[in-house]
């Protein structure tokens, strides 16, 4: 799920960044530090959309660094248990398949793939229904349900399932 939220962060700046461009320097450092990172609480920071306010700097004793409290708006992405997500399949093998939704890596084990879909080996390994009407292979788009999440510093892992109503392939690249 995406959220547009306000976060706050204390930015430590070296005195060489002070001067006329102080504000720009703070903002560009903020973007560099924050965008693309994850936190367990908020998920993946997709983009900073605005600065609400930059507070008064506080000199750190003995170092000369100054800390500025910065309030900023950003878009974050965080999957939740029970959430339905659309993802692109990156790898299919006998254990199941891996899929990606942005920074989120999802594994759907073959325990959680409907029983009527069977694994087929070959150049393009896939799971196919016995009548051949539905096929999951690399680059397929699937709708899945998240049943477990774990957020690391830079990655989000999820366990997903497609063994439920209305889940599974939504766009088959072979038929495109």
């Amino acid at each position: 799920m995406f959220f547009h939220i306000v976060l706050e962060r204390n930015m430590q700046l070296h005195p060489r960044f002070f001067g006329r461009n102080l504000r720009e320097n703070i903002v560009s450092k903020l973007m560099k530090d924050v965008e693309g990172t994850c936190s367990g609480r908020h998920g993946f920071v997709v983009a900073i959309t605005g600065i609400e306010n930059i507070g008064k700097g506080l000199i750190r004793d003995g170092t000369g660094f100054v800390t500025f409290p910065v309030k900023y708006q950003c878009v974050v992405f965080r999957p939740f248990k029970g959430e339905i997500l659309e993802a692109v399949v990156t790898m299919v093998n006998k254990m199941g398949f891996f899929a990606e939704a942005g920074p989120v890596q999802i594994f759907v084990s073959n325990h959680l793939i409907p029983d009527d879909m069977e694994f087929q080996t070959g150049d393009m390994p896939n799971y196919t229904t016995s009548d051949g009407s539905v096929k999951i292979q690399k680059d397929s788009e699937v709708r899945l349900k998240i049943i477990g999440t774990r957020v690391d510093a830079t990655e989000i892992f999820c366990i997903g399932t497609i063994k439920d109503d209305f889940l599974g392939v939504i766009n088959d690249p072979a038929n495109a």
């Binding site: 367990g40 029970g82 087929q120 049943i147």
Partner: protein
């Protein structure tokens, strides 16, 4: 992470966000937060009954498990509040419990994990059990029962496609690599002959400047892989590290047809200096291994087809104690059509054919190791060998590796000379037994004749190994 170190203080707005998420999402997925409640690693789940702003500040610095435990705290609080409100706590608790049960149906055995979460129920697992399958995907682990299950289902699938498994070593088997700094003067001309990395499918000599390495693919390797892929599901298994293994896989398989997610490196093994089939998702009775290093496969010698080492570069020759000029220094190479890979491909075809055609009656009992033994026994069938001054006199002759090798190849070995003897193996034409051989018109060959037969799976022309030609 800088986000944490830089920013010990967080605003109240993020607390609003968290509160919003909790109310919105816990109501929707109460079942899953209930399962969190029972997770063993939620250590401080009962430490905080209220969420003061201070605690939320702390929590923000923590990782996901704390995020989860915070949610647990809240749902616990809610539960407690309801208890106090109407005294009907049991009904709510059991409701949550039921909905969890309906998701996992029965108690989950946690057959494997991805990112330390169970691949079936999604629960965070604390122990690191099972075998890591990092070569398939980062963060993937499988328990033993799951490995057995996957092997069984895969086996059926594979047999239907008339395929077996083939594990391929890289160095000295499919290719030869050298560090640039170890290249000799005589090899400098190679710098002008390397193929472009843009389209690797045409070349066989590559400069990998990022790794400070040059790699030469063994002659015939591309045909070999193409043909073998029709009969086998192929893995690469090298003692090199993962970066090297993947780089080599790119050279060998530019179209990613053969080795996708089947490149095993020393980073994936479960035992130091050993290669094991435990990380291969195939049944041992259907696996063949090509490797030049017998000792790497202590537990799986019956699956192994030992390869003659491919030494192209001088550094490789020196490493193995040869002081002759290397192929590269002589500006030559192994034969394309009669080299090791071409010979072994014929052997693989034969084994594959026997496995799938001649053993058709007995599908379940088939074991490729048995087939390998049978095919090997055909190589020197009908030969009766006597050794002369090959072994130290005090040692037990039938313990010597050449003796055993000859027997595995189907020859009979003897210490006595009699008319049924066909070959005398010796390094020296002056011995009594050598004289006997010349006198009775028997083959007199060097020990290399047996080794060559072992590598090429074919009885070699005796005249190429005659003892007289060699001056000792």
């Amino acid at each position: 992470m800088s986000l944490v170190t830089d920013s010990p203080v967080h605003s109240s707005s993020s607390d609003d966000f968290a509160a919003f998420l909790d109310t919105e999402l816990d109501s929707k997925s109460s079942a899953s937060s209930a399962s969190d409640d029972e997770a063993p690693n939620q250590h401080h789940s009962d430490s905080a009954a209220s969420s003061s702003p201070d605690q939320d500040k702390e929590a923000e610095e923590d990782d996901d498990s704390d995020f989860q435990s915070k949610r647990v705290k809240r749902s616990k609080v809610e539960t407690l509040e309801i208890v106090e409100d109407d005294g009907g706590a049991a009904s709510l608790a059991s409701l949550k419990h039921n909905s969890e049960v309906s998701i996992s149906k029965e108690i989950c055995t946690h057959p494997g994990s991805f990112g330390t979460m169970c691949i079936v129920c999604g629960q965070l697992l604390d122990g690191e059990s099972g075998v890591t399958f990092g070569y398939i995907h980062k963060g993937l682990r499988l328990g033993n029962d799951e490995i057995v299950r996957l092997r069984n289902t895969d086996m059926k699938n594979l047999l239907r496609h008339k395929k077996l498994y083939l594990i391929l070593d890289l160095d000295h088997t499919l290719l030869n690599s050298t560090q640039l700094m170890h290249m000799t003067l005589d090899e400098e001309y190679l710098n002008g002959q390397t193929a472009s990395l843009q389209d690797v499918s045409k070349g066989s000599l590559f400069m990998l400047s990022s790794m400070q390495m040059m790699t030469k693919l063994r002659p015939f390797v591309r045909t070999f892989l193409k043909e073998a892929s029709q009969m086998f599901e192929m893995y690469i298994y090298t003692m090199g590290d993962r970066a090297y293994a993947l780089e080599m896989a790119k050279l060998l398989d530019p179209g990613r047809e053969y080795f996708n997610a089947k490149v095993i490196s020393r980073d994936d093994g479960t035992q130091r200096h050993q290669k094991g089939l435990d990380v291969v998702l195939g049944q041992e009775s259907a696996v063949l291994i090509l490797d030049d290093t017998e000792n790497a496969w202590m537990k799986h010698k019956d699956n192994l087809i030992l390869m003659e080492r491919y030494h192209f570069f001088a550094s490789s020759c020196h490493q193995f104690g040869f002081n002759c000029k290397s192929l590269s220094e002589q500006n030559t190479d192994e034969s394309e059509s009669e080299g090791a890979l071409a010979s072994i491909l014929k052997v693989l075809r034969k084994i594959h054919q026997i496995f799938f055609e001649e053993l058709e009656e007995n599908m379940d009992g088939r074991d490729v190791r048995q087939v390998l033994k049978t095919v090997r026994k055909d190589v020197l069938k009908g030969c009766k060998i006597v050794f002369s001054r090959v072994f130290p006199t005090q040692s037990q002759a039938n313990n010597h590796h050449l003796w055993r090798m000859a027997e595995q190849l189907g020859a009979t070995c003897s210490t006595e000379l009699d008319p049924s003897v066909t070959h005398v193996v010796s390094k020296d034409s002056g011995t009594e037994k050598s004289h006997w051989a010349s006198k009775h018109n028997k083959f007199l060959v060097q020990p290399g004749w047996i080794e060559a037969a072992n590598y090429f799976w074919q009885r070699q022309p005796e005249e190429n190994f005659s003892v007289n030609q060699i001056k000792n």
